[in-house]
């Protein structure tokens, strides 16, 4: 009867974390949310591939009358950096048919005396400069001929003329793949941290509301209960993120959407997971402590609101500024501030716009803060979690009154 009833802290925390993991993994909300994200990520990759290949060359039809223009159109297009395919049509009527069926984007009907183009509605943004430039060249060659020069020679000289630019601080090359990865990492981390943080807060209040915490604390120390809960939900959140990030990596590699990008997808994925763990540890501790102050689910918002704001600000900066201007002061500064770093540093990393030592310093600052948060959160949680009824003041919980 008087069996050994010792229960070490490790065993106690494992039991609490185990219950959290089992409960969360079995919940429909978790399963559907994870599945939805995996599907969205895979579909997104597919969409990216399809729209990526829709930057097809512009189709330009040329009537037999203006047949000589085909080569000039191509040459000019190359000069302006637009991909153009030309095809010859017997007459204007045939060309117009192609325009209305959408098989051609523009029809060149004459090159002299002026360049004459027919389009369905208006000239596409890509072709505008091409024909503008071509019209200038034609006018120029007309004038050159009139002056007795060789238009071809002049045209050659004009087409190859380019300024020599020397950049004092050359910006690192960033491609579409890196920017997309930066935005996706930013959004995913925000959703994952927000979701897992909310689960911690709700879990703490659930135990308080249902009063089961009294029964639990008759056998557990408060910090063991808090640690087990944070650990369990953290593992669940990490599993969820691994699935989603795994799907993202698999689909980007599988669809080959990043073939042309200089992005190291594997490294970005691993860093996203590292930052999730660090960010979760910080936010979960703060949210667990604050949630212990209230007794009803309806009141959660009043204590977690400021924390959510603390997540939203760096998130907005992270996805709206960082991918396009990773060197901006606000982005660089916030990527070092502990609670903001998890939303911004991984985006800078995805963009390849950060030095190794910067990552190390930022990570070090965040990790150094965690023991302080453990102590503070443990204190607030222990003092507040058994006080039912109204809202406990943070000051009282910290002071232990």
């Amino acid at each position: 009867m008087s069996a050994d009833r010792s229960l070490g802290s490790g065993a106690a925390i494992r039991l609490v974390a185990g219950r959290e993991i089992r409960t969360r993994l079995a919940s429909k909300a978790f399963i559907w949310l994870t599945l939805a994200f995996v599907v969205i990520v895979v579909l997104g990759g597919l969409l990216f591939k399809l729209t990526g290949s829709s930057s097809d060359p512009q189709q330009v039809a040329v009537t037999t009358d203006a047949a000589g223009a085909a080569d000039q159109v191509k040459a000019t297009a190359t000069g302006v950096g637009v991909d153009v395919v030309t095809r010859e049509v017997p007459d204007r009527a045939a060309g117009e048919k192609l325009l209305s069926s959408g098989d051609a984007d523009a029809l060149v009907v004459a090159t002299s005396p002026t360049l004459e183009i027919v389009v369905k509605q208006d000239l596409s943004d890509q072709l505008g400069p091409v024909f503008g430039s071509l019209a200038q060249q034609l006018a120029l060659s007309g004038a050159v001929t009139d002056l007795g020069g060789d238009p071809a020679e002049v045209a050659q000289a004009v087409a190859t003329a380019a300024p020599t630019v020397t950049a004092l601080e050359p910006e690192p090359e960033r491609d579409g793949g890196q920017i997309a990865a930066g935005v996706i990492v930013g959004i995913l981390l925000f959703i994952a941290l927000m979701n897992a943080g909310q689960l911690v807060a709700q879990g703490v209040v659930e135990e308080k509301t249902s009063r089961v915490v009294e029964l639990l604390l008759a056998t557990l120390r408060p910090w063991q209960l808090m640690a087990g809960k944070v650990l369990g939900i953290g593992i669940v959140g990490l599993v969820q993120l691994v699935l989603i990030v795994g799907a993202a990596v698999a689909s980007s590699l599988g669809f080959g959407v990043l073939d042309s990008s200089s992005l190291d997808v594997g490294a970005i994925a691993v860093w996203a997971l590292v930052w999730f763990v660090v960010g979760f540890a910080m936010f979960a501790l703060v949210l667990a402590a604050l949630a212990a102050l209230v007794s009803r689910q309806e009141d959660i918002g009043s204590v977690t609101g400021p924390v959510i704001a603390l997540m939203i600000v760096p998130y907005i900066v992270g996805i709206s500024i960082a991918p396009y201007d990773p060197e901006s002061t606000i982005v660089v500064v916030m990527s070092f501030i502990p609670f903001a770093a998890p939303f911004i540093m991984p985006i800078r990393q995805a963009l390849g716009a950060v030095e190794g030592w910067e990552v190390a310093v930022s990570l070090g600052l965040s990790i150094a803060l965690i023991p302080v948060l453990v102590w503070l959160a443990g204190r607030v949680y222990s003092n507040a979690v058994l006080r039912a009824g109204g809202r406990v003041k943070l000051k009282d919980a910290l002071g232990g009154r």
């Binding site: 009867m1 008087s2 069996a3 050994d4 009833r5 010792s6 229960l7 106690a12 039991l15 609490v16 219950r19 409960t23 659930e206 135990e207 249902s210 009063r211 089961v212 915490v213 009294e214 029964l215 639990l216 604390l217 008759a218 056998t219 557990l220 120390r221 058994l386 039912a388």
Partner: protein, 313 residues
Amino acid sequence: MASLEIDALNKTYGSVRALRDMTFDVRAGEIFGFVGSNGAGKSTTMRIVLGVLAQDSGEVRWDSAPLGPDTRRRIGYMPEERGLYPRMKVGEQLVYLARLHGMDTAAARASMERWTETLGIEERRGDEVLKLSLGNQQRVQLAAALVHEPDILVLDEPFSGLDPVAVDVMSGVLREQAAAGRPVVFSSHQLELVERLSDRVGIVRAGSMVALGGIDELRTTEHRRWAVDGPPDSAWAAGVPEVRVLESSGTTTVVEAAGTGPDEVDQAVLRAALAAGPVREFSLVRPSLTELYRDVVAADVPAEQVETEEGAA
């Protein structure tokens, strides 16, 4: 023999003194009934025993050693504010609680199965607590207190909200646990129940123990009273100078002897009454726990103050 000793506990919440030198002990195999008005300090005492609340001073000991986490894990506790995970299945929940008290999985499972059967809720093991009737939720709560095979039971208001059948089940469990040599402390406002079940009773008022002892011991009053159903008091009472007549209604007369009187005064009363006529009933009048409680709780406390204490609960 081991006993649970509550020694001079003090606890203050802000300006309210919840406990003042609360002291009593519960021996192994004994059922201890803990009574007192709301806010008198019963729950506070129990929560301190469980370590859920920290005392300002004083000590709780089991077997002469201060209670630590490992001993506390051997206590079965039923908090005043009932609490279970509403969305967790009954069986899973009980196994989890047993494991938190240091049982291994197999033993926890076996114990869960045994207790759900004993308490008649074996059909509900797979249901979420939320879906159970209030009465069945109470049974699960009791199972939660017993599932880890505790060596000490501390039950705060275990009978509140129970239907008469469940009261019998609960009483039976308490008796069994005590018979198995465990100390059982329970609080209740149902004084007849406390009187019937308890070996000893403690009455608390304003944070301290004001009456403590076995039921018989407590009911023994300083002034003894007898009820005599027989001839009218005018015919015989004057013949026994040690007693005075308290009341007489119909054929029944109640007389009281001052505590200092000789022991055999009851025989003198009976002889005097018999000499006056036939006596159909002669008995010692002892106060019920309810009467004792009223005396003790009301004594020396102005009505207004009692109200304030209840309001503070």
